[in-house]
Symmetry: none
Subunit: 534 residues, 2 copies
């Protein structure tokens, strides 16, 4: 089993993605998570490109990691200077990080049109920069930018570039498909050729891909199969344009499908949790369809399939989801049966008997016929289970609610909600304003119930979706509202369906709050990791 070195650039290349932002302290948490997963090299950025990066390196220097080494990132010396007089290379040399990754040109087009130096000077820039850092005691990784475009354009020159880095003492030469435009066949051919050119030097070959043609994962695998033993990428494929190669997919593919050694098996089983943790930290909705770790990755919906899975799991699943810390998900749908409901009840810690399960199935069937859909409303579904099992606590008795939205003659729109409810034997009348009708209702309801349920203060809505069912009926169509609420640890979904969008929203709102107060509710990080580390 060939061992593969895992190189994560989430904190550098990943942060170039749209809307990506982390504080230095959050980046430190990411580094610890990557280390706990078993990543071997963590690229943290350039040590002084701004105060935040500087702070990050100051923080990193104090830390101890289990498996990971920290790599600082920079580029080859500027043209026409000496490496030991290049301020940026000096910063890298002085940084605590034992590993330094520097990027340089491999493609004649870039050397001439972007860098505007002659090709021999580019070779000197590579060799002298690497040699300088090696002389300063660093392990050096050379990132050969636009390597495959360069190789297709002028293979001989690309070979000279990577060889210049290797002969100057680089530990690794990483072949980068910087613009992400190569296909697996091209990556395989280029990697084979360049790895052969590097065979005389004692150097590791790395592969760094992007997803611009939807082949970031396949390209990385092609690079490994053609001789690379380091793979660079980001968690969840974060990165600019279409993203970097996704390590979360690459790692199980290499280890479980192709027999390479990447991570100890117990670490691999934390992959799902780690991937979701990163999304949460970045305030991104985890992609439910993500290979291996997505909520839907092992979901079985259709009747025939769900039936088949029960007969023989391996017949419909390409691998055991537990190996990556995921689990099989039976979608609650019109077609599902009593067994699925019982399994869900057990998972939620709700004591439901066979009769109860049968009643839930009937109820779900009727509700789904009316437009309900419980796949994304696990909170509402658990409330259904609890209502049948008797383990249900109601939040209040409704007397009435009212929403008024008004655009006045001066053009200003005002929204006001009034609720009248009974809780713990008392009547509450509350009025609140909001940016819109749902916001106003949420505010009014919370004003009434937070007094008796202070734990609700730590919860809030994080997601609000409206879908018109049978849209061709215009505004008389049925509206389905899905809400996600969170208490900072767990996220749960609730649903409301009505001809009236406000009534649907109200119903979902009530479920989302009622779910939060159930004794022993068991959101166990299914849809996101617990935040205990934070």
């Amino acid at each position: 089993m060939t061992a593969i070195q895992l190189y994560d650039t989430t904190l550098r290349d990943g942060m170039q993605g749209e809307g990506m932002s982390l504080s230095a302290e959050e980046k430190l948490r990411v580094a610890h998570r990557l280390d706990a997963l078993g990543i071997h090299l963590i690229e943290a950025g350039f040590p002084t490109s701004n105060p935040k990066e500087l702070e990050l390196f100051t923080l990193l220097e104090r830390e101890t990691f289990l498996t990971a080494d920290v790599a600082a990132f920079g580029m080859t010396r500027r043209a026409g200077t000496r490496a030991d007089e290049d301020a940026a290379l000096r910063v890298l040399a002085d940084c605590f990080a034992p590993v330094v990754t520097i990027v340089g040109k491999t493609w004649g087009l870039h050397v001439e049109k972007v860098l505007r130096v002659d090709r021999d000077e580019n070779l000197r820039m590579i060799a002298e920069s690497v040699a300088f850092l090696v002389a300063q005691g660093k392990r050096v990784i050379y990132d050969a930018e636009h390597c495959f475009d360069g190789w297709r354009d002028d293979a001989a020159y690309a070979r000279r570039c990577v060889l210049a880095a290797a002969e100057a003492g680089a530990e690794t030469v990483a072949l980068c498909d910087t613009n992400g435009g190569s296909l697996p066949g091209q990556i395989a051919e280029g990697t084979r050729d360049l790895a052969a050119a590097l065979a005389t030097a004692d150097v590791r070959v790395g592969i760094h891909c992007h997803d611009d043609v939807g082949c970031g994962v396949a390209n990385s695998l092609a690079g490994i199969e053609a001789g690379a033993t380091q793979v660079q990428g980001t968690m969840n494929g974060y990165g600019e344009r279409c993203g970097n190669a996704n390590l979360v997919t690459i790692i199980p593919n290499l280890q479980l499908k192709l027999g390479y050694e990447c991570l100890p098996h117990d670490r691999l089983a934390t992959l799902t949790e780690t991937a979701h943790y990163l999304d949460e930290l970045l305030n991104r909705t985890p992609n439910p369809d993500q290979p291996y770790v997505g909520k839907n990755a092992f979901a079985h919906g259709g009747g025939m399939h769900a039936d088949g899975v029960l007969k023989e799991a391996a017949s419909f699943e390409h691998m055991d989801p537990l190996l990556v810390g995921n689990h099989r998900e039976m979608l609650i749908s019109e077609l599902s049966g009593k067994g699925t409901v019982l399994a869900r009840a057990e998972e939620s810690g709700v004591a439901l008997d066979e009769d109860g399960a049968r009643r839930v199935v009937e109820r779900v069937k009727a509700l789904e016929h009316g437009g309900y859909q419980y796949e994304a409303a696990d909170g509402s579904f658990e409330l259904l289970l609890r209502k049948e099992s008797g383990e249900y606590e109601s939040l209040f008795q409704l007397e009435s609610w009212r929403v008024i939205v008004e655009q006045r003659a001066d053009g200003k729109v005002e929204t006001e909600a009034t609720i009248k409810i009974w809780a713990n034997g008392e009547r509450y009348l509350r009025t609140a304003e909001g940016n819109g009708p749902v916001h106003a209702l949420d505010n009014a309801l919370r004003a009434a119930v937070e007094e008796s349920h202070p734990e609700l203060k730590g919860t809030g809505l994080v997601n609000f979706k409206v879908r018109i069912l049978d849209e061709t009926k215009g505004t008389e169509a049925v509206t389905r509202v899905l809400l996600d609420a969170s208490d900072g640890h767990d996220v749960w979904g609730s649903i409301g369906v009505s001809e009236n969008v406000i009534e649907a929203s109200w119903d979902a709102l009530v479920d989302s709050l009622e779910y939060a107060i159930q004794a022993g509710r068991t959101r166990v990080g299914k849809r996101g990791p617990a935040r205990s580390a934070t």
Copy 2:
């Protein structure tokens, strides 16, 4: 240049994705879009699995398509019966569709554990089902389910299965990686072997992949390079678990990178628009990072890169985004340029000069920054054009409106809207009820303006969509409402955006009515077929 047959299963396999739902009429619109793109085969589902599917086939039978043939989908006959006595095969034989795709087993494990028949009976089921449909005059595509698992398990039996279909007269045998667990190397090897086994039969080989290991695209390319000439997939990779192979990525890869012939170049240039149209119809947020067509696919963020792009576009972009109808800029909109605006004005019969067009571009940029999006709101866009050209007729002057939604103590929900407007020098105060707030506002507004504009009586809302932008902000997020209205012949879209869903709906409502009264408005059925048939 080998020609590749494009087989789209968005309407069947794609609809198994989580939360996917389209009415029969919407599916018809999808079929027309796929046809306009140049797809060769459109798989529409099983003709009678429910009333909605039946309605779809009834609608499809009346339509004329430019490039596409419709394929009905089913499975091989049940075990131990005769093909000509199998009710489901009879339905397929009687369906108008010239092409029938049937799926059958290829993997011994499934034959024995799921189907529970012996392996020879499975071969007879395949051969007799294909032969029956061929004898009924159908072009038959055989989908070999779990083909690559089967081939890895027992290559000889997998060969016998696909050969049984080919020898029975199938036009195409599609090799399906049903659970999506194969890697490109395995797909290449399996396809080569099975294509060789099929070489004696006059049969086309197809490839059908899923994205469970993040290689749906690469696997499809591997299948094509190993001898398949039909590729099956879905738009935007819709589908259960991690999705089907994404045709939106596969098509440009095949055509622009590998030199296969898929679509005429002018059709390929509509790829971005088509992909976004599908997302809109399904009320899904287009993936901004999607290869080729995503808003970020050709976005340049990093300072160094953006600078490099200016020096030499090809040095940082893997291809020209215009080839797939995308743009280099961050903000993608088909209306972003002055030329496009002038062309749209001419098409709508609006006399707009260069200065007017420039003002429209500025206005659209500002509005799109605030969440407006005119791709699906052609009515609102034409109103923008008219306001700049002076050919705009206003419907009324607003004084105020108010909506009250109330759930009373008896549980009944009542909705009432009151509007105060001025039209033709008169003040109108009208109150109306409705099933929901938008319906009530629509009723109240119509009650006021239909007197002076009786032509509005023939119009009505046919579609209503609500999308929360930046969904992670919960109920405080901005809401985008899209309405479609129709006069029985034409359909036009209008848009409203606001923090308040009711205000956004009001704005869209006003546009939809105002558009209807414009003199010389020219709806030419761009967004789908006219509704006269329904």
